[in-house]
Amino acid sequence: MEEQEPKGWSPYLAGGLAGLLLVCSVFLSGNYFGASTTFVRVAGTIEKVFVPDRVAQSEYFTRFAPAIDWQWMFVAGVFFGSLISAATSRSFRLQTVPHTWRERFGPSATKRGLVAYAGGTIAMFGARLADG
């Protein structure tokens, strides 16, 4: 049995604070929140190692060059912010298969990993197509 984790904050409070954070960011630096463009930059960075010519000629990687910018750092920050919050509130859990997935589809980490990988691929293709 897992150790009972402390209850989180109200989603209205945390969501409202996230809204204030966005307003401050727009006011101070003109930056809105986003994440999906960073995945394009990461893909370009990796591809550049193997096929630099292809990346250099790509229309899309010219528009979204493989570089570290505000949003890239924002996404990196999200990882550390979540890690700090989880580690300081006894809610960090190493978990390979989520609860509700396990109940429905079983404990296989490979199965879950493959579906998460495929889902991520489709979701990101769609997100970029929708320009979001």
């Binding site: 920050g77 998460a116 769609g126 197509l129 929708a130 979001g132």
Partner: protein, 174 residues
């Protein structure tokens, strides 16, 4: 300096996401199955506060609005694909990173899938640009412009509808 600001803002955002427990597969699927509205409460609260604040700054001449062109072909087909993928992975782009931060290792596979999807889209972009992205291109439009009303009318209505929805969620225990 600019990128450091991005890092700190991201940390604060990731902190809030984790505190509200909205980055879990169980919560995200709960919302998609209309059984647990926690993430909808979080997102809609952010949107309402952000909407009021950003438009206030804009009206005071203190900030620039930034929005993207509306292309119905890309928005609708991309939206459907995103929905199918989201249902499978159970994380969205930023929450996959946050979920990995709280120890959910399946989010890493999802993250790698998303990088793959971004690379595939870069390959498909020239084709999409000739086809899907030419369908229903409305250009730079906003809802207030389309309706021909003042933006505050839309903001007030949207916020009221959001609060009404919140009350309904609480009554239904969602």
């Amino acid at each position: 300096m600019m990128t450091l600001a991005g890092f700190i803002t991201g940390m604060a955002f990731g902190f809030l996401l984790q505190k509200a427990r909205v980055i879990r597969y169980d919560k995200q699927l709960g919302a998609l199955r209309l059984m647990d509205m926690t993430i909808v409460k979080f997102m809609l609260s952010t949107v309402i506060v952000g909407m009021v604040g950003v438009y206030l700054l804009h009206d005071l001449g203190l900030a620039e609005l930034r929005f993207k062109p509306t292309v119905l072909g890309g928005n609708i087909i991309g939206g459907i694909l995103f929905g199918i993928g989201w249902g499978l992975i159970g994380y969205c782009p930023a929450t996959s990173v946050a979920a990995f931060g709280e120890g959910r290792t399946d989010a890493l596979w999802g993250f790698l899938g998303m990088v793959t999807g971004a690379g595939l889209y870069a390959e498909a972009y020239p084709l999409m640009n000739r086809t899907v992205l030419t369908w229903g291109d409305l250009g730079m439009v906003t809802i207030p412009q389309l309706l021909g009303v003042n933006h505050w009318a839309v903001i007030v209505l949207f916020a009221a509808a959001g609060i009404f929805l919140f009350r309904w969620f609480e009554r239904k225990g969602l």
